[in-house]
């Protein structure tokens, strides 16, 4: 068991008002090693809050999260950055690359922060770059790249630390169809190599690349379906059906 989420609850209170928003209620699921999970939901469903808690960027109101047996919601504020650096990888919707750094240095960023030896950095990128087809891009600067290229670089950055868990927040939302497919296929490849992935998305197509899809609405996990031996297309259809049935109809 890699990730264990127990009865997670997140309540937002607006200041000067008694109004209470329940972003998450009794969220409870487990993730095995080498899984590829998609969490699907509309905007406002609580999926981003869930991701933020898993990313240790937010603390839950109640409940617990264990990563490899470590209770991550109890980690001290001062150790959080270090924890993220060593255990988690992030891929964002808008890539979040620094324009002031070259592509290569962007990928090195987490390693530099973790004080990894420069030779080791070079070794790791030599393995990673061909896999992600970014060898030609390394000396360029982010603003010279297309959206798909940028996302591949961002994925390289998230993988270079060999994280236990890769978290992706709508990774294809800013990309066109072809680039989206490229990235999602890449995710599948990475997953086949043994990387555990957790992706948040509202796109049925994106979710169809995962092995398991969790549906979230109003802060609750409603339903989950497994891919099994289905093709992407079949799985995508199932997901759409589930969406209409479970989430769409009020």
């Amino acid at each position: 068991m890699l990730l264990e989420i127990n009865h997670l609850e997140k309540v937002f209170r607006t200041r000067f008002s008694k109004e209470v928003t329940r972003a998450l209620q009794d969220v409870d699921f487990k993730v095995d090693e080498k899984e590829f999970i998609a969490i699907m939901g509309e905007s406002g469903s609580g999926k981003t809050t869930l991701l933020n808690i898993l990313a240790t960027l937010e603390k839950p109101t109640n409940g617990s999260v264990f990563l490899n047996g470590q209770e991550i919601t109890k980690i001290k504020e001062s150790n959080l950055a270090d924890f993220r650096l060593k255990n988690l990888g992030f891929v964002f919707q808008d890539f979040n690359l620094l324009d002031t750094l070259s592509v290569k240095d962007n990928i090195f960023l987490p390693l530099v922060l973790g004080r990894v030896d420069y030779q080791e950095m070079e070794k790791r990128i030599a393995v990673l770059a061909p896999k992600l087809h970014i060898e030609e891009l390394l000396e360029k600067r982010p603003f010279e790249l297309s959206g798909g290229q940028k996302q591949r670089v961002a994925i390289a950055r998230s993988l270079i630390t060999n994280p236990q868990l890769l978290l992706a927040d709508e990774p294809t939302a800013a990309l066109d169809y072809k680039n989206s497919e490229d990235i999602l296929n890449l995710f599948e490849e990475i997953n086949n190599d043994g990387q555990t992935l957790l992706m948040v998305t509202h796109s049925a197509n994106a979710a169809s690349h995962a092995k398991r899809v969790l549906f979230i609405k109003d802060g609750r996990i409603f339903h989950q379906i497994y891919r099994g031996n289905k093709t992407n297309q079949e799985f995508s259809k199932d997901i759409s059906l589930a969406m209409t049935a479970l989430l769409g109809g009020e």
Partner: protein, 661 residues
């Protein structure tokens, strides 16, 4: 009417965007207006020197105002480009957008004129008090001249017409799309050209060299050198920020061990881009800071050293100078010290019922030729025809008895022997030939008292053994057509009445020896007043300009912090998400702002330290000597660092706020 309403509500709603521009405008208005008010007040009729110094100040201030206003307004326009784009998309054409922004400008102008005038009326009283205090002047109320207000309003109207032109050009050039486009178009790395980087060091180095090597050069030549050095350093400073820093940072980045550490990775890579965007801004801040240093330090030195100068010039309250001009082509003849003391007795002592012994008297002949340097020097006819301006100075001549009477420990001189003292540089003189006669120098004074040094250009004094030998030299000079002044100086403590009594007759020729012996009476008090009128005016102007420059620097810094804060916000968010701790982010921000902020100050201080040698030499023209300059400079720099630091504290809040927003 709609447009006026829109303009008015814009001003109200976006007040925090307009505020820096309005504040800068009002402060500049007050500075200009107050200076004009003092210039047009009755006091300046009495103060001829200060008047012209203030006139210069107002010209510099106006130029400065124009530059700062355009800079500040440009920044305002940049911030508002999105708003203009929105109007454009909502269906207003360029003409209408221009109209709204013109009305805004007019409203700002009216506000600035009204508020500025009222505040000027208040603050000018305060400035005036400082002014008259420095000048030791007795009329303490400033009458407000309407001319000053009108002139300043006209000047600002002209400036705002310039701003309107800037405004129209900006709006005309923009298209709705470009206005809306995100600023993040990805900038190329600065080149960091090695040649320019080298050139910057060469420029700075040669500027510094010119200053450091000017110690033994005559003040007039130093002024000429100073301008070359200033130009070199200005070019060097711009190139330093534009090329050298980029080159240096990129060079650092190549060092993998240095670069790939959390401490340097983010800061260095961001600084490379900072340097590109801000090179000119940083150079401007540096130059404003150094201008501020120079203006305040030199004028303060001038003012402070006035007292020293006064004490050197006036061992006692009253100075009486009897002068006999000697030229070759008239029948003037040289006088002995005895002749002079006779005149003093008849014209002064007898009239006041005193004796010559009541005065400290000494002979002090003055000629102007090359001040001896090295071990020997020969004065020849050629020097009379073609004086060497570079080594030129005031050469005083006196006798050993007189020199001793001034309180100088002088060895006994025999005939043919002299002693020598010069203000500038260590004298090595062993032999001095004045036309046909050669003297052995037996002593080079390291320091000595000679009152005239207090207001002479590059002075030195030759001490002869006796009156007869001095007369011989006088005759030699006359024979070789070398003009000289024979002087007898007498110091005494006279009352006001006594001074009045003798000064009526003093300028008359003394009939008994058929010579045009002229007498001048000068009192310490009178001299002090005149001096304060000059140096006080300088000091006031120095502070006025110095503080204005610092204000300009502060404004640029404020805008820089604001823009950078907005730009950096995203970077720091990304860094935190990737796994940089909050403390590390804060540290990186801190080291970056500190560097960007204090680099100009550091560079300015280095410039200033190198400039000190030159400034000291030039101030010798105004008889500012000794260490007062260094002490004053030290205090000035310290004071300005504190002000600068306060600006930093204040503006870095803007930066953090922008980042946290």
């Amino acid at each position: 009417m709609l447009y006026a309403k829109l303009a008015w509500s814009n001003l109200k709603k976006s007040f925090n965007i307009f505020a820096p521009f309005l504040l800068a405008s009002i402060v500049l208005f007050i500075l200009d207006c107050s200076t004009l008010l003092i210039l047009y007040s009755p006091v300046s009729d009495d103060m001829q020197y200060s008047n012209s110094v203030l006139g210069l100040a107002i010209i510099v201030l106006m130029i400065f105002t124009i530059i700062m206003e355009i800079y500040s307004y440009n920044f305002l326009l940049k911030q508002r480009s999105k708003e203009f784009g929105l109007y454009n998309i909502l269906g207003m054409n360029r003409k209408q957008v221009s109209l709204v922004s013109t009305i805004e400008l007019i409203l700002s102008f009216i506000g600035i004129i009204i508020l500025g005038s009222v505040l000027s009326a208040i603050f000018s009283q305060f400035f005036y008090l400082i002014f008259v205090n420095l000048l030791h002047y007795d009329k303490l109320i400033l009458s407000l001249s309407p001319v000053a207000f009108i002139l300043n309003t006209v000047a600002f109207a002209v400036i705002f017409v310039l701003l309107e032109i800037v405004n129209l050009i900006t709006i005309h050039r923009s298209s709705p799309l470009s206005l809306f486009k995100r600023q993040e178009k990805g900038e190329k790395e600065p080149r960091g050209n090695v040649i320019f980087a080298l050139l910057s060091l060469i420029c700075l180095g040669s500027g510094y060299y010119l200053s450091v090597t000017s110690e033994k050069i005559a003040a007039l030549v130093v002024i000429y050198r100073f301008f070359i050095a200033v130009v070199l350093v200005i070019i060097g400073t711009y190139l330093f920020y534009i090329s050298f820093m980029a080159w240096y940072l990129k060079h650092r980045r190549k060092n993998k061990k240095y670069f790939y550490t959390p401490e340097h990775f983010v800061t260095t890579s961001q600084m490379i881009f900072r340097m590109k965007q801000n090179a000119v801004g940083l150079a401007n801040i540096t130059l404003l800071a150094i201008m501020s240093f120079v203006a305040i330090a030199t004028t303060t030195s001038l003012y402070v050293s006035g007292q020293n100068q006064l004490d050197t010039l006036f061992p006692e309250q009253t100075q009486i100078t009897l002068t006999n001009y000697i030229n070759s082509n008239d029948d003037s003849k040289t006088l002995t010290e005895g002749d002079f003391t006779d005149v003093l007795k008849r014209q002064v002592s007898d009239k006041l019922g005193k004796s010559n012994d009541d005065f400290l008297t000494y002979q002090s002949d003055l000629a102007a030729f090359s001040v001896p340097t090295g071990k020997s020097m020969k004065l020849t006819d050629n020097d009379v025809k073609h004086p060497n301006v570079n080594a030129f100075g005031s050469v005083y001549m006196t006798t050993q008895d007189d020199f001793r009477a001034l309180g100088n420990d002088t060895p006994i001189l025999k005939d043919g022997q002299i002693a020598f003292y010069k203000q500038k540089g260590d004298s090595q003189l062993e032999e001095l030939t004045l036309f046909d006669k050669t003297f052995k120098n037996v002593k080079n004074f390291k320091s000595a008292t000679f009152p005239e040094f207090g207001n002479s250009y590059n002075p030195c004094v030759i001490i002869f053994s006796s009156d007869s030998e001095l007369t011989e030299v006088e005759n030699l000079f006359k024979a070789h057509s070398m003009p000289m002044q024979e002087n007898l100086i007498a110091y005494g403590d006279l009352t006001k009445n006594e001074v009045n009594q003798i000064s009526k007759d003093m300028v008359l020729p003394d009939d008994d020896i058929h010579q045009e012996v002229q007498g001048i009476v000068e009192t310490k008090e009178n001299f002090r007043n005149e001096m304060y009128a000059i140096t006080g005016g300088f000091l006031f102007t120095g502070f006025l300009l110095g503080l204005s420059f610092l204000l300009g620097a502060a404004l640029i810094i404020y805008y820089k912090q604001l823009t950078e804060g907005i730009e950096d916000k995203k970077s720091y968010k990304i860094l935190q998400e990737v796994g940089m701790s909050k403390e590390a982010v804060k540290k990186a921000i801190n080291s970056q702002t500190l560097l960007v902020f204090f680099m100009p100050l550091g560079v300015a201080i280095v410039h200033f330290i190198f400039a000190l040698t030159m400034l000291k030499q030039m101030l010798l023209l105004f008889s500012v000597t000794g260490s007062s300059m260094i002490i004053v400079s030290g205090i000035t720099i310290l004071g300005l660092i504190i002000i600068y630091f306060l600006i930093y504290k204040f503006t870095s809040r803007t930066y953090y706020k922008a980042i946290e927003r």
